[in-house]
Symmetry: C2
Subunit: 193 residues, 2 copies
Amino acid sequence: MTKGQDTKLTILDAGLDMASQLGLENVSIGALAKATSMSKSGLFAHFESKENLQIEILNHAGMLFTQQVITPAIRTKAGIPRIMALLDNYISWDCNLTGGCIFVTASTDYKDRPGKVRDFLLKQQLLWIESLAQIAESAVGTGEFRKDADCEQFAFEFYSLLLGVHLYYKLLNKSDIKKRYQTAFEKLLHSFR
Amino acid sequence: MTKGQDTKLTILDAGLDMASQLGLENVSIGALAKATSMSKSGLFAHFESKENLQIEILNHAGMLFTQQVITPAIRTKAGIPRIMALLDNYISWDCNLTGGCIFVTASTDYKDRPGKVRDFLLKQQLLWIESLAQIAESAVGTGEFRKDADCEQFAFEFYSLLLGVHLYYKLLNKSDIKKRYQTAFEKLLHSFR
């Protein structure tokens, strides 16, 4: 990795953290320069515009998400073990970012802001939902889910549950959240068997 | 209603709409003055600070939410009809605001912004979750839910589902969302019978 690439990665990590806390819309070249104690012109040379910076942060988050959440799940035994790995990995991802999952934050920020950032985010979200459905398909393959299980429906219910966990954990700081989501998750799995 | 109260209500309606679209954090006295073509000093006289304005918008949203979502549900027959009314009312509320439910947006905005606005929002969210649990209790009362049904668990699962609907509807614009949430809702009810 060149020094330039290394610097860029450091900036993107700081940008991701800022976006997770304050919302992607509030990450600008100026704000990020201040947070990283770098010059605004230096950051401008890397990203050229606020919009590009935001897309690069989403892209960086997407790569980390694949590495930390999706890939290790796909390497786990197909079927329910894989789905359980996905849940655990997602919860670690959500907990490890200061403000929680950036995609939840960004989805709220960008639902009404048409443009390139929203388009990029939308593609990422659709890919994520497709991954969820595919991982559910693996449980149809192993016979753990019934043959006619609607895997798109599973993706919707599973994602809804993750959104609930994010809210209860990040805003409400509910101490019983682990018991809550485990109960809900067991029921979810059961309903597709 | 005095002219002053009437003006304030008009401002709060515009503020709510802006907060639902852009996030509560992006509603300032200046931005709202511009959107309502009013003077900044006039708005300042009504609200005194950005923080107060944001709390008043949340309070206004809370009153409308009670009027449009909670009260009509409580007036519906206890038990499952009441829970169904709550779902329908929430979905109308979420659809009728330009950017969808302000509480979802504000929860994302404020999870990492300690202060009076977050404290106020947190109280509202806890009250909402308590209302959900109470409405579930009414189904225990009618015998539609089993005696030992965990109504806090119901509140968590029901709220998670609403968050999923919000995302699928507002960001992803999924056409099959109605079928998706109805299926999930039927299963949710069934699991507490």
